[in-house]
């Protein structure tokens, strides 16, 4: 893994760097699996190796792969890096021993979750329980971050000229890839089912709204890559996605507000149903749905905004 990172730093060709980044991300994800962080591994895989590689490729397609002078502020960089590295080494000198169950980190707050989350929320996956309920507000914030990013990207890359002017080069080029088209056609329903499974299985196994949202978005992205973004945008209308992105945040928020109106605190799902545990379960389900919707919509928006740029670039002589 270190080698990969080093190679990324050294490789001049940006394209190779992006590819290596994909590998690096997969490696990280495997490391997470080894360290029992399955949910995180899941996310890292779909995000790091999937979406961010794709986005970087799109950006690369727009900006050109060459890098001129590799490093010109090396001295400054080296100094900063060495200082912060030395500080960290200094800091980890007496950090509690790795992997021991008696470290303070495992003593104070965490055991409570493991012991009580089943009775309190009725969810087997402790990570989901914390994510959606105990620290639900963080997740709300995270959702808003995604939403912010999509708003920002839309604001930055809003295409001014109408869509139907350009001829869809994507589709034309892909016409010849018969095998690919058929395979993708077979795969997409599978992927969508898988996304739904991940969405609603998050209580029991790794997964949840975020991962499902990304997988769902990746199905659409796959479609747009093979059949052309024009075709894909006919399937999923732009304004509709925009509304969906907002809707997800609103779902999450209104779950909170409903519990507020029922006389409990914000995001206290126990208020939703007479039985607090059922209420928690329902709340978590709804909230995850909100997360899934917004994330899927936001990712699709970001990807489309990027790929629209590619196409408009081709048409307008630069």
């Amino acid at each position: 893994m270190l080698f990969t990172a080093l190679a990324i730093a050294r490789v001049k060709d940006l394209f190779a760097a992006v590819m290596l980044m994909g590998i690096y991300s997969l490696l990280t994800a495997s490391l997470f699996v080894v360290m029992h962080a399955v949910d995180v591994a899941f996310t890292e895989a779909v995000v790091g190796a999937g979406i961010s590689t794709l986005l970087m490729l799109k950006a690369l397609a727009l900006t050109g792969p060459h890098q001129n002078n590799s490093s010109y502020r090396s001295m400054l960089a080296l100094v900063v890096v060495l200082i912060s590295g030395a500080l960290l080494i200094y800091g980890t000198w007496d950090i509690p021993p790795f992997a021991s169950a008696s470290a303070p980190i495992h003593q104070h707050v965490a055991p409570h979750y493991i012991q009580n989350s089943m009775q309190e929320t009725g969810v087997r996956n402790v990570v989901t329980a914390i994510l959606a309920s105990y620290r639900g507000f963080d997740t709300f914030g995270e959702l808003v971050v995604v939403f912010t990013a999509s708003v920002g990207v839309m604001g930055l890359l809003a295409v001014t000229h109408p869509h139907d002017k350009y001829h869809d080069g994507d589709a034309a080029a892909m016409q010849q890839h018969l095998i690919l088209r058929i395979v993708v056609k077979m795969l997409i329903p599978l992927i969508l089912i898988f996304a739904l499974y991940v969405q609603f299985h998050g209580d029991y196994g790794p997964g949840g709204g975020f991962q499902a949202g990304v997988i769902f978005a990746s199905a659409i992205i796959l479609y747009s890559m093979v059949f052309g973004s024009h075709a894909a945008q006919q399937v999923v209308n732009r304004t509709v996605i925009q509304i969906l992105a907002a809707l997800g945040v609103l779902i999450y928020g209104s779950v909170g507000i409903v519990s507020l109106l029922m006389g409990r605190n914000f995001l206290d799902y126990s208020a939703l149903l007479p039985d607090p545990v059922d209420g928690q379960h329902l709340g978590i389900l709804l909230v995850e749905l909100g997360v899934g919707i917004t994330v899927a919509a936001a990712m699709i928006i970001i990807f489309f905004s990027f790929s629209d740029r590619v196409v408009s670039e081709e048409v307008s002589p630069e």
Partner: protein, 110 residues
């Protein structure tokens, strides 16, 4: 009887796993040692389909829950669908990008 079946399953899965592992390693070596892109692609293809397939079937024999079996089948299906499709697309792209296969007689030039 059940013990027998268990034993058989274990042995079977072991054999499949070992075979799969072998194909994988050989494919990996091939990927590294073969002289040009297209032959390397062949090596990769072997690991992708045969190696992966064998290992997954081997795992299937060990699985205890239905859902696990189902997921394994799904993974296998995925591997079998996407592997060749990706290889195909890759080869096509390579040809498209004017990367000539290294034919036998060209060997001297390399």
């Amino acid at each position: 009887m059940e013990i027998m079946i268990d034993l058989l399953l274990n042995i079977g899965s072991g054999i499949l796993l070992i075979l799969g592992g072998f194909f994988c390693v050989s494919g990996g070596v091939g990927l590294l040692r073969f002289p040009d892109f297209y032959t390397r692609m062949h090596a990769a293809g072997v690991t992708d389909t045969l190696g992966a397939g064998l290992i997954l079937v081997g795992l299937m024999l060990q699985s205890t829950h239905l859902i696990v079996l189902l997921k394994l089948i799904l993974v296998l299906l995925f591997a079998l669908l996407t592997g060749p499709a990706a290889s195909h697309a890759l080869a096509k792209a390579a040809m498209h990008g004017n990367l000539k296969p290294l034919l036998y007689r060209d060997k001297s030039t390399r």
